[in-house]
């Protein structure tokens, strides 16, 4: 069966809605139907799954959704992603790459980190998740081992956050080209500057919404790169 525009619209809607309502079966079926047409799955991922997750982010900010709802939606998204990703045509945009991510030592808050990680998964990055309570040297070790483009550090406490500049210093010394992004509730733009990191998700209090924005901007960069090529 080919993918005409009416069918495409229908499947995109079912994918997005399936994520919003965490209907795993719905997402699974819609993703499978798409894959069965043999078409590229790029749109299914970004205009289906991710657009559903963007809606979830809005509901979270509006306090209609809470953390369990967000985690369930993320599970549904992963179900779709597992089916769709193998059939996504590689885009030769420069942004795809590898990311090392983890929550710094002393900190077991990993819900936010896992959501950020999901967004990198969606965007097609190779993600090396070190988990939570990660000894500071391990970030450097993994970066050197994988030659990742980005290292992402998460901390939810004002205290554990103080481990970040140490990691940044270690990485800068060995690999000045590596991008370092930091995030978590106590991180502000000020702190990004102070710690010498490259970026953070803009508004940590707006939790999911911000992480989604990161992907959206990535998507834009991807589009631009595609348009040029």
């Amino acid at each position: 069966m080919a993918l005409d525009s009416a069918k495409k619209e229908e499947l995109l809607k079912r994918l997005a809605q399936g994520v919003v309502e965490f209907e795993d079966d719905e997402v699974r079926e819609a993703a499978q139907e798409w894959v069965d047409t043999g078409e590229d799955t790029y749109d299914a991922i970004f205009d289906g799954l991710v657009s559903g997750m963007e809606e979830v982010g809005k509901l979270f900010s509006a306090q209609e959704y809470f953390v369990p709802e967000m985690l369930m939606a993320a599970d549904s998204l992963y179900i779709g992603l597992d089916i769709l990703k193998p059939q996504m045509k590689p885009r030769d945009s420069g942004v795809k790459g590898a990311v090392v991510i983890g929550t710094v030592q002393g900190d077991v808050h990993d819900i936010g980190k896992n959501i950020v990680k999901m967004m990198f998964d969606v965007a097609g990055f190779n993600v090396y998740d070190l988990g939570r309570d990660v000894p500071l040297e391990d970030f450097l070790k993994k970066q050197l081992e994988t030659n990742s483009d980005i290292v992402c550090l998460s901390a939810m406490m004002t205290t554990t956050m103080m481990g970040m500049p140490k990691v940044i210093e270690m990485i800068r010394a060995k690999n000045p080209n590596c991008k370092i992004m930091i995030g978590g509730a106590p991180i502000t733009d000020d702190i990004v500057g102070k710690f010498g990191a490259d970026a953070t998700a803009k508004d940590a209090s707006n939790a999911l919404e911000e992480a989604v924005k990161m992907v959206v901007s990535l998507r834009e960069i991807q589009k631009e790169a595609n348009a040029k090529s």
Binding site: F66, V67, P68, Q105, G106
Partner: protein
């Protein structure tokens, strides 16, 4: 007895009974050891957790140095989890001061928890050590100051011994199963809490910060969390304090309905609105942001923040969560002074 001659212990225990005490006491049910206190003793934070003598000495320092009106043991959130087979990391090797965390989760099931909830449990992990520490403190302070301790709430304890993600999703996807699970955890908490209260602890906090309304919807709180928290309140001796940080305004009426001696909230829950929703009778402790007030702020700010808590009508001035050890001594002094000097 006049208020001027009341001991700190009486001030705190009367407050928890719902009596008005003027000025209100300034104390907490959670961690409050400072690096200043540790320096005085020459101890490292990591060395306190497994040594009853050091734990006791360190716990008394905020009372001795600043007149903070309590002695609270232990300093970490791993006590019950350890007794239930989890492994704690005290960060003995790290240079920085870090709060201990659970590094291996035992992942006990509802049935396993039910089987574990026997007096045998009370001999496990560091439970005997905390009781020994309470004895040492009592020997030193007598009845001058109350000794507090704490247990985790059912949901938060569940997140220590199992993957929190599983529990979070379960609360939405399989509420009935999760209620059973939390009910089994409540039995453990009641057992440990009563044991502490029978063995030298004067008041106990139930710390259920995992179930704050920043994380869980009021619907899930009502359906899944409330029954377990109520069970704990119904079966645990008093005085007991229910502590939930983060914004809890949407559920504070349910927190009050559980029937704890007192509620403890942090700066994310505005005191005036909380009071409106719970009424005059509910004892509310709070509600400042400890890190911003005591660690990053200055003494004048700390004075104002503490005084504002009193004016907002708290029954006791209590930091939202743990006082982080690097709190500035002058800020703690200013906080104590403000509470002594402010009345409503």
């Amino acid at each position: 007895m006049t208020e001027a001659t009341m001991t700190a212990k009486e001030r705190v225990l009367r407050t928890l009974k719902g009596e008005k005490v003027t000025p209100v006491p300034c104390f907490s049910g959670v961690g409050n050891v400072t690096t200043k206190g540790l320096e005085k003793l020459g101890y490292r934070f990591a060395d306190l957790h497994n040594d009853a003598q050091k734990m006791a000495e360190a716990a008394m320092t905020s009372w001795e140095l600043f007149g903070y009106e309590c002695v609270v043991i232990p300093f970490d959130l791993c006590l019950e989890a350890e007794a239930l087979g989890c492994v704690m990391n005290p960060y003995a090797e790290t240079e920085e001061l870090l709060y201990p965390t659970i590094k291996e989760k035992s992942k006990l099931t509802t049935e396993q928890l039910r089987a574990a909830a026997t007096p045998e449990l009370l001999k496990k992990g560091r439970i005997p050590l905390v009781i020994e520490a309470a004895r040492i403190v009592r020997e030193k302070v007598g009845d001058q100051v109350a000794i507090g301790s704490y247990v985790l709430g059912p949901f938060t304890l569940g997140g220590q011994i199992n993957e929190l993600e599983v529990i979070l999703k379960g609360s939405l996807k399989k509420p009935e199963e999760m209620k059973e699970y939390l009910d089994a955890l409540a039995d453990v908490i009641i057992l440990v809490g009563n044991h502490l209260l029978q063995n030298g602890i004067d008041y106990i906090s139930v710390r259920e910060m995992g179930a704050t309304s920043d994380v869980l919807s009021p619907r899930v709180f009502k359906k899944v969390i409330f029954p377990a928290l109520k069970k704990v309140a119904d079966n645990m001796a008093s005085p007991n304090i229910l502590h939930i940080c983060g914004s809890v305004l949407p559920v504070i009426d349910m927190m009050a309905e559980c029937g704890y001696s007192a509620l403890s909230i942090d700066s994310k829950t505005p005191m005036k609105e909380a009071r409106e929703k719970t009424g005059e009778k509910t004892v509310i402790l709070g509600n400042f942001n400890p890190f911003a007030t005591l660690n990053t702020g200055d003494a004048e700010g700390a004075y104002n923040v503490a005084a504002q808590c009193v004016r907002d009508g708290v029954n006791g001035v209590h930091p939202g969560c743990d006082i982080w050890p690097t709190a500035k001594p002058e800020n703690l002094e200013a906080m104590m002074k403000a509470v002594r000097e402010t009345s409503v």
